[in-house]
């Protein structure tokens, strides 16, 4: 379509999205940055206070706890989810009987929402821990491993799908050539399959990383931060700062900006890594 002919049609083609985008993203984002430097209880009574919110944020021991708790959670869930998902993807590309049924089953939990997932696992984990006279909210370690199990159950299927697509893109001749040259199964895996699915590994690693950092619903439903905010991930900590106590909104917004910077840095690292890989190929 010719540029000049199309351009006057802006109000019809792009304006609805543009207006919604301003309401749903641009204004809240700009306002969010501004308010992180303010003290306020509603948007109208904002008073500029400079970096005070940011310095207060690091005096909050719950926040510091949430920061490392989330980082640890992200690392453990990235490692476990990706290893399991890759292993299952390898098995499901061998052409064994029932592959489609297995794929259907493993992917299913992914479609169930976080709140529902949280309560499903609360029932099961409390049922198991109940046999030992404990519950999920007895210690932060129970909540931690509970969320790891939940995340694995939910996300393995999704990552498996991406790995399957990656493995199926490996040309059959390449594997055949390696076998003819006398490579063992382990060598084929390490020297041929892993390098060839590297793009999928990058995607999955970063998807699980950002998903773990942004985890909210599951955390809220499973433990709600108990005991005493010790099983609180970053997102829930930010939420509780905003809506849990009056007068801390400024600090909450500062935490939110911090959170954005962390997640943004992860995403940009991913972008650079995938881009570099593309150039090499």
């Amino acid at each position: 379509m010719n540029k000049k002919v199309l351009r006057p049609y802006f109000p019809l083609f792009a304006l609805p999205t543009f207006i919604a985008f301003i309401i749903g993203f641009i204004v809240p984002f700009g306002l969010g940055i501004y308010l992180s430097f303010c003290e306020f209880t509603t948007v109208n009574d904002a008073k500029f206070v400079g970096f005070k919110n940011y310095s207060n944020m690091f005096g909050d021991s719950d926040f510091k706890h949430a920061l490392w708790y989330t980082a640890l959670f992200a690392v453990v869930s990235v490692v476990t989810i990706n290893i399991f998902a890759f292993a299952i993807a390898m098995l499901l590309t061998k052409g064994i009987r029932g592959t489609n049924i297995f794929r259907t089953v493993f992917f299913m939990p992914n479609l169930i929402g976080g709140i529902v997932l949280g309560y499903i696992w609360q029932l099961i984990l409390n049922g198991i821990l109940g046999k030992f006279g404990a519950t999920l909210t007895f210690s932060e370690a129970y909540g931690f491993w509970g969320m790891i199990i939940l995340m694995n159950w939910q996300q393995i299927g999704y990552m498996m799908i991406i790995y399957i697509a990656g493995i199926q893109n490996i040309p059959g001749e390449l594997l055949e050539a390696a076998r003819i040259d006398g490579a063992t199964n382990g060598q084929v895996l390490r020297k041929v399959i892993l390098p060839m699915v590297m793009p999928s590994i990058t995607i999955c690693t970063f998807l699980t990383l950002t998903n773990s950092f942004k985890l909210f619903d599951q955390n809220l439903a499973l433990t709600n931060g108990l005991p005493a905010n010790k099983s609180e991930l970053l997102a829930l900590n930010i939420y509780n700062t905003f809506y849990g106590r009056v007068g801390a909104e400024g600090v909450g917004q500062a935490k939110a900006v911090m959170f954005f910077l962390i997640v943004g840095a992860i995403s940009i690292t991913q972008l650079i890594l995938t881009h570099r890989k593309e150039v090499q190929q």
Binding site: M1, N2, K3, V5, L6, F13, A14, T17, A20, F21, I22, I23, G24, F25, V27, P28, F29, L31, G32, L35, V43, K94, G95, I96, F102, T104, V105, F107, M108, P109, L111, I112, G113, G114, I115, V116, Y119, I120, L123, I124, N126, W153, I161, I162, Q168, G172, L175, I203, F206, F213, K214, F216, D217, Y239, G252, Q253, A256, F260, V263, S267
Partner: protein, 314 residues
């Protein structure tokens, strides 16, 4: 095999292929993956058995919730792993109680309105916008594109408070008006995907339509949109999965005293009544899961394709 097949240049993923071509493609795909019955690994049966066991374990949580939804409250906490017996069987009382307590069916209706409405609006508006951005390619549209890409890496908590305030100010707190918020916050991914695909459409097709007398609106609806169909399906699946399960955004934006979505209603069961009524909780979890599973089994192929093509989202 040497039979000559004329394939149009712009054949898209979702298009039906002539049967002989389809057979050839299937055969090639099989060879490429090294999947043929003759080359099955010798441990194939063993793996099938192991995977079957894992699959059953995988389904246990859902089955357990289903079983417990037919047990009386006090028996659920005491022993969630036993089957209901004469004492503990509650028939469907958990369901009737739960539905009444949280107004499940009105929540289901709200969820349906919000999800279907938002997905239709998102698909229509962002596909038009994506095509416009790609074709006009001015400084302004480039800025809009990069802003959309940028919005994909911003976590919801960053804009949570201010978005809720903005939506409140504009009175976007009903199931119909929240669609605007979803269009705005969901636009990033959708515009990004549509732009990527619109770039690959040969401009000659559109020029031909124009020479034949189509104005841009006709060109879009008669020529471009049918070509964009596979991307529309992927975007629809991804956005629907997100919106249906979303808890935080509607709970902050909607007037929750009047309108609840399914996740909000379930969370309300815990928040609103002190000690959790485990019986109703189990029953409502089952009701929340069933529509999703049915939808999944019907549209599985599209869902999995959508996931693969949407995996670029950072």
């Amino acid at each position: 095999m040497a039979k000559k097949v004329h394939a149009p240049e712009t054949l898209q993923k979702g298009d039906a292929l002539p049967p002989d071509v389809q057979a050839l493609v299937n055969e090639m795909a099989k060879r490429k993956n090294g999947v043929s019955s003759a080359r099955r690994s010798p441990y194939a049966t063993l793996w099938t058995i192991i995977l079957s066991i894992i699959s059953v374990v995988y389904l246990v949580p859902i089955i357990l919730v289903f079983i417990n939804s037919f047990k009386k409250k006090i028996f659920i906490n005491k022993n969630p792993f036993s089957l209901p017996n004469g004492d503990s069987f509650s028939s469907i009382s958990n369901y009737t109680e739960g539905v009444e307590k949280i107004g499940f069916f009105s929540a289901l209706q709200n969820s349906a309105i919000i999800t279907v409405g938002s997905v239709i609006v998102i698909i229509l508006c962002t596909s038009m916008c994506g095509w416009y951005i790609t074709r006009v390619n001015s400084f302004f549209t480039k800025c809009l594109y990069y802003l959309c890409v940028f919005s994909m890496i911003v976590p919801f908590q960053m804009v949570m408070y201010t978005l809720a305030k903005t939506a409140d100010r504009l009175k976007l707190n009903s199931p119909f008006t929240i669609i605007v918020v979803y269009l705005g916050f969901g636009a990033g991914l959708a515009v990004f995907m549509f732009c990527g695909f619109a770039k690959s459409i040969p401009i000659e097709i559109e020029e031909a339509a124009m020479i034949d007398g189509c104005n841009p609106i006709q060109t879009y609806f008669k020529v471009v949109m049918p070509i964009l169909r596979p991307t529309c399906i992927s975007v629809a699946i991804l956005e629907a999965m997100w919106i249906w399960n979303d808890y935080l955004l509607p709970s902050l934006v909607l007037d929750t005293t009047k309108y609840k979505t399914v996740p909000i209603a379930i969370q309300y069961l815990k928040g609103g009544y002190g000690a959790v009524d485990m019986g109703s909780m189990m029953a409502m979890l089952v009701l929340a899961i069933v529509p999703i599973i049915i939808f999944y089994l019907v549209c599985q192929k599209y869902i999995i394709e959508g996931v693969v093509s949407g995996a670029v989202k950072g």
